[in-house]
């Protein structure tokens, strides 16, 4: 069973990974440091929320076996308080990190104090990719849709990470095989190839290579098939390609030529390092740049992969 990346990522672990990628690829250093700040705070906050009041969501794990994510259609109303806490913490770190966005971020802070932000509704719209709600809200608050989207995504992530953690066992048992997240329904931001067989026996533990997807939102990790595009479920060997450079066999980018989606992938069989996956994703942004240049689009929009 994969270990949930988020909560296990202590500060030191994140720092080490930032240093190691920055050393390896100096061109990405500014991004690694910036997103490192945000991911550190996210991680801290998730741990704080997990230790706090238990969530009271109407989740039905039996839906997993029918291919329905746990949070699809579930009201996030009971998370009001956690969303508020998260907003305050995450907005703070966003403001510190991105001075170019300060004007819009501070406007959002004011709107929050004026109780103009309905996080429950915005979160729902975010998870369901409802552009109408987000664009209307952005217009009425006089911020850009991009910044509103960023803030909602960033504040929602640590809150949902706690949900993913508490249902990890059920997700594992359900053998979820879809390309989208069994917890929140979002698409993965990165995948990795695992080290050794799930059922490690004394003899022939296996060459590893089983593929796991890491949710771009809640950090849930689930096993998927090697030969399937998570976006369109295409299994045609001639319409899936991966790209990598000879120097970095541990890093690759999986592309589906059927639907045009790409997903970065770390091969842990090749790599000594075990970075937090989101830092790894930031450390591979050059591959995003390469893929976008070739006309492919990311499986999930993340904070760091909007290279256009």
């Amino acid at each position: 069973m994969p270990v949930l990346n988020g909560l296990g990522d202590c500060e030191q672990h994140i720092n080490d990974a930032v240093e190691s990628f920055a050393g390896k690829r100096p061109v990405l250093e500014p991004m690694l440091r910036a997103f490192g700040n945000i991911l550190r705070e996210k991680s801290r906050l998730a741990a704080q929320l997990a230790a706090g009041k238990p969530y009271d969501l109407a989740v039905d794990p039996s839906r997993l076996s029918r291919g329905v994510p746990l949070l699809a259609g579930v009201s996030l109303e009971p998370l009001q308080e956690q969303l508020n806490v998260s907003f305050n913490a995450m907005l703070n770190v966003l403001r510190k990190t991105f001075s170019d966005l300060d004007e819009e971020l501070s406007r959002l802070e004011i709107c929050y104090r004026e109780r103009k932000l309905d996080f429950v509704n915005l979160s729902r719209a975010y998870l369901e990719t409802d552009p109408r709600v987000l664009s209307e809200t952005a217009r009425s608050l006089m911020v850009s849709e991009g910044v509103l989207g960023m803030v909602v995504g960033v504040l929602l992530a640590p809150v949902l990470e706690v949900v993913a953690l508490s249902y990890a066992e059920q997700v594992h048992q359900a053998r979820w095989l879809k390309g989208f997240c069994p917890v929140c329904g979002s698409m993965p931001s990165i995948s990795y190839l695992g080290e050794s067989g799930e059922q490690a026996s004394e003899f022939l533990t296996g060459g590893g290579g089983q593929k796991y997807l890491h949710c771009s939102m809640c950090g849930c990790e689930w096993r998927t098939k090697r030969n399937m595009c998570p976006a369109c479920e295409n299994e045609d060997k001639d319409r899936r390609v991966y790209f990598q450079t000879e120097d970095d066999p541990a890093e690759r980018i999986d592309v589906c030529t059927e639907c045009g989606a790409y997903l970065p992938c770390m091969d842990f069989r090749e790599s000594v390092l075990r970075p937090p996956l989101e830092i790894a994703a930031v450390g591979m942004v050059h591959l995003d740049a390469w893929a976008c240049e070739k006309g492919y689009h990311p499986l999930a929009n993340t904070l760091w992969n909007q290279v256009r």
């Binding site: 329905v68 695992g194 290579g209």
Partner: protein
């Protein structure tokens, strides 16, 4: 039953858009220049089956520009779960082995050497030999006068290396010719 992500989404795609990296204040120029310099090789992954013992471990073959560049155990096949034995692990060198037979070869009667031949020539010559042997040696009836349709003087041996589809055709072809001396690895 909800089977597709679209079923609970209002819009398709990678989710809600975020502000771009440049809007955040990053200078993407160096990153893009770095990316443009990358020598990226594209490869595909093809599922195959190890050609040795009948555990039938699955193998993922990595193919770049039509060439086999790597093989690994398929982690998804529930039996081998990515593991391979020494022979399975040597699949790459076994398949790409320069010692392999690459052209139809022919050794004439009493000759001391092999000669290269075309497929067309070889198959025509074999077809002639089969017909000649069959026409000359076909046993229509046995001693009791029963109709038996046998070609006893031509045999077929092998092979468990064939796929099921190839086995099925080989059996059909041999019975059509009247071959009765037919056998393969299952008996040894």
């Amino acid at each position: 039953m909800l089977l597709n992500r679209r079923d609970f989404l209002k819009a398709a795609g990678g989710g809600v858009a975020c502000v771009s990296l440049s809007r955040m204040g990053f200078d993407l120029g160096p990153v893009k220049a770095y990316a443009a310099d990358l020598k990226m090789d594209g490869a595909k992954e093809v599922i195959s089956v190890c050609p040795f013992c009948s555990v039938s471990c699955h193998i993922i073959a990595h193919v770049k520009d039509g060439k086999l560049v790597n093989t690994e155990g398929d982690p998804d096949y529930p039996i081998n779960q990515g593991a391979l034995c020494a022979k399975g692990a040597a699949m790459l060198s076994m398949t790409r082995n320069p010692h392999r037979a690459m052209k139809p070869m022919y050794r004439a009667p009493h000759s001391d050497k092999w000669e290269e031949k075309s497929w067309d020539w070889a198959l025509n010559r074999i077809a002639d030999l089969v017909k000649e042997s069959r026409d000359k040696n076909f046993v229509e009836k046995n001693d009791k006068g029963q109709r038996v349709n046998r070609l006893e003087k031509v045999f077929a041996l092998g092979t468990s290396h064939m796929s099921n589809e190839e086995c099925s055709l080989t059996h059909q072809a041999m019975r059509a010719l009247g071959v009765v001396h037919m056998d393969h690895q299952a008996r040894i």
